[in-house]
């Protein structure tokens, strides 16, 4: 039997995708020609440099800062670290300590034998790529062979106590209650930190710091429950911000399954500079694509700052742009968790018809994507009873329209980060609705002249108009015009532009090439080479 379908015409769909591709293509020179402090720190982390000095400044930050100060970061940080390794016959982590604790100046070491540097580079790069592949394979095996992928929509809940050990208690309880996916929300404003904190953390505001150690602790905790329940429980964290590539690397290293990773979220919602974000998102997505991390995009948020009916098309346009960026980074569609939301004001007459139209549009535009569907948030108030009813409607639309990742609505959304019972009630609501309406979608069909069908086509049409305009003026200008989320940002404004560095023609970064080869992105050489 057929599922509920809009039967979108292929002409506008193809056109929308073609325009989006061109919008992204237009930014590839910017991406190719520049690196960022965060990309360079990621490369050093991939070489095995972890740890921080007594002031908690990560070693990778100390090294990148030194190279930046000396004006040589345009060559890529790896070259200097590799050279120092050859010179001192030491591993990168030892060199890092020497820089941090003994004031070793990497730029004062004479450039050594290129062959030795190259050989070391190859060995270290291979070791990192092997580790990432191993983690990916282990996950894929658990998920698809040892156990099986849970039925969709996947039930996704968040924990956000600020203390990773408390998070573990809540996450394990949520998994035992039936959650398929656990997201650890980050501490307020971590995205504005131009470094990733080290170690296990117990103090956070509205969330818990994303650190490599915290990732490891939570992965282990979920594996324990997974073992107990014979299923794999997915783990989520957030990459957007000034450390997008670094967090992607840590996620790949520690076996995270999803990462919030949007090409525009940081720009719009955290005021990160747009050039910085566009460059960072690319490298970050290479890592995600290589490690089978599903990215989650943040279009749902647009409907908190703009009207969910009036500006529905901006969500669609942004999904198409996010998809085009992900394709450029070699990502398979099934790892694209394109976002949207159930955020229409509940007082609106026939609001549900709009919600169904928007949800079906997203479903049919991206048939292979693992769509991320966000619950009502903005119109949740302290009235938990009304909130619970709204979440029920949301769950209903999701199952009816075939969504994939269901961020379960919390009845106390307007009040606090969830209590343990809030998650339980959310899972039970979803279980009830998903089971009770399991095949209902197959019982109905949508007429081409129905409100739902016409509404979906109209939103697509409006999205194409915005995309055409964006292609004409360029994505950055389009963001300047506040076309996305009604938020205006400028090309040179926001945080982090000082961390964007024009690459020298001799720039060297062995991982860019390694990832691109792995993902068959061999259209051009990106990496430079040791000359």
């Amino acid at each position: 039997m057929e599922k509920l379908k809009l039967r979108l015409k292929s002409e506008p769909v193809n056109r929308a995708k073609e325009i989006s591709k061109e919008i992204v293509e237009d930014l590839m020179d910017l991406i190719r020609e520049n690196t960022t402090t965060s990309i360079e720190r990621t490369v050093l982390r991939l070489f095995g440099i972890i740890g921080a000095d007594i002031d908690d400044t990560p070693y990778v930050n100390i090294i990148v800062k030194q190279l930046m100060k000396k004006g040589v970061l345009e060559m890529g940080a790896s070259l200097y670290v590799l050279n120092a390794c050859v010179h001192h016959d030491e591993e990168p982590e030892v060199i890092a300590k020497m820089v941090a604790e003994e004031n070793l100046d990497l730029t004062e070491i004479p450039m050594g034998d290129y062959e030795k540097i190259n050989a070391l580079s190859q060995r270290l790069t291979q070791a990192a790529m092997d580790h990432i592949a191993k983690i990916k394979d282990e996950r894929d095996k658990l998920l698809y062979e040892t156990w099986s992928d849970p039925p969709r929509p996947y039930k996704y809940v968040i924990v956000a106590t600020g203390n990773i050990h408390e998070d573990v208690v809540q996450a394990q309880a949520a998994a035992r209650q039936g959650a398929d996916i656990i997201a650890v929300i980050r501490s307020t404003a971590q995205s504005l930190l131009d470094y990733v904190p080290e170690g296990a953390t117990t103090e956070g505001f509205g969330g818990t710091y994303a650190t490599q150690e915290n990732f490891r602790i939570m992965r282990k905790a979920l594996d324990v429950v997974g073992e107990e329940q014979n299923r794999y429980i997915r783990l989520v964290n957030y990459a957007s911000g000034l450390c997008m590539p670094e967090i992607a690397m840590m996620g790949a290293w520690e076996g995270l399954d999803f990462l919030l990773n949007d090409s525009m979220y940081g720009i719009l919602f955290r005021d990160i500079n747009m050039q910085r974000t566009i460059i960072d998102q690319y490298f970050s997505r290479l890592i995600c694509a290589a490690s089978h991390i599903t990215i989650n995009t943040g279009e749902d948020n647009y409907l908190t700052t703009s009207d969910a009916i009036e500006k529905a098309y901006a969500v669609t346009a942004s999904q198409l742009i996010n998809e085009a960026f992900a394709l450029k980074a070699g990502m398979e569609p099934k790892y694209m968790g394109l976002g949207h939301a159930f955020e229409i004001n509940p007082d609106i007459k026939d609001g549900l018809s709009y919600e169904i139209a928007h949800a079906l549009l997203t479903r049919e535009l991206f048939p292979e994507a693992t769509l991320k569907y966000m619950p009502p948030t903005k119109h949740m108030t302290g009235d938990i009873f009304k909130g619970y009813a709204m979440n029920t409607m949301f769950n209903f639309v999701s199952v009816l329209t075939g969504q994939d990742i269901q961020l379960l609505g919390m009845l106390t959304e307007a009040i606090h980060t969830p209590f343990m019972q809030d998650r339980y009630l959310a899972v039970k609501n979803a279980d009830y609705i998903f089971n009770n309406t399991f095949s209902l979608g197959k019982e109905f069909s949508i007429d081409d002249d129905s409100f739902i069908s016409q509404r979906a086509h109209k939103v697509l049409e409006q999205a194409i108009e915005l995309l055409e305009h964006t292609r004409e003026v360029g994505l950055m200008q389009s963001i300047e015009e506040a076309n996305f989320a009604d938020i205006k940002r400028t090309q040179t404004g926001g945080k982090g532009l000082d961390g964007v560095i024009k690459k020298s023609p001799k720039y060297y970064n062995p991982f860019e090439g390694a990832f691109r080869r792995l993902l068959n992105l061999d259209d051009e050489v990106f990496e430079g080479g040791v000359h």
Binding site: A173, A174, R176, T188, A189, M420, Y424
Partner: protein, 244 residues
């Protein structure tokens, strides 16, 4: 007047409670829930639902009848008092009583990135069909957006000679808003600005009482509409000018 919660009979004191206990769902847990509620002063308690939350937790829904009542004569409310006018009235009031535009600077301060509440008060479009302050003839509005450092906000207030500063704080976890709001107030005092400027704070977890405690003139909670804020500003500014 003495009052009690109302279930289906006057003064029956009926209430519903829900909570989680760190115990496995069991006869012991159920009894613990009941005893807890009894100890809180409830009678005729009934545990109507006990659900296993996994691990060592269970969730309860309990009904009971409280014996505690409250005498409304003893209650004091900390409430901001001002005449609520509409936009046209406020504009006229400012023109007649003050005779110049009032300069308003708004921001969500420090680490807080939420703008929707502040924009609801300031943007043309407003909130719930009530136009925002930018729409008023007699306000000159500077909306600095979110993640604004207190230092930058103060600089702006000086630069444009603000009459009013409107601060939004949405994130309240671990009392971070108290920290941020105190910082701003300390800086305003240190810079000698406090007495010239009307300082208002708003947000879903902000009460007038808290605002006063932290040294602000007024606090606006959930559901605030722009014309309330406008009315307060206009009437307060006039009072201040009279007292100068």
């Amino acid at each position: 007047m003495m009052i009690y919660p109302y279930g289906d009979t006057t003064n029956d004191g009926a209430m519903q409670l829900s909570f989680t206990l760190p115990l496995k769902a069991s006869a012991l847990a159920k009894e613990a829930a009941k005893s807890l509620v009894k100890k809180m002063g409830f009678e005729k308690t009934e545990v109507v639902s006990m659900q296993d939350l996994g691990g060592d937790f269970s969730f309860f829904v309990v009904y009971g009848h409280t014996t505690t009542g409250i005498n409304t004569d003893d209650i004091q409310v900390v409430e901001a008092k001002f005449d609520h006018m509409d936009r046209v009235q406020v504009d006229e009031y400012i023109e007649e009583q003050i005779g110049r535009k009032l300069v308003v600077v708004g921001a969500t301060i420090e680490s807080d990135a939420h703008t929707v509440g502040l924009d609801a008060i300031l943007n043309m479009k407003g909130y719930h069909g009530d136009y925002g302050l930018e729409r008023y003839k007699n306000f000159e509005v500077y909306n600095m957006g979110s993640q604004v450092l207190c230092e930058d906000l103060i600089k702006k207030c000086k630069e444009v000679k603000a009459d009013v500063v409107l601060v939004s704080q949405i994130v309240t976890q671990k009392n971070i808003h108290v920290k941020n709001l105190s910082k701003l107030m300390d800086l305003m005092e240190a810079e000698g600005l406090r007495h010239h400027i009307i300082a208002a704070v708003g947000g879903p977890r902000i009460s007038h009482e808290l605002a006063l405690e932290l040294g602000y003139d007024i606090g606006f909670g959930p559901g605030t509409i722009p014309s309330q804020v406008a009315s307060y500003i206009a009437t307060t500014k006039k009072e201040r000018l009279e007292n100068e």
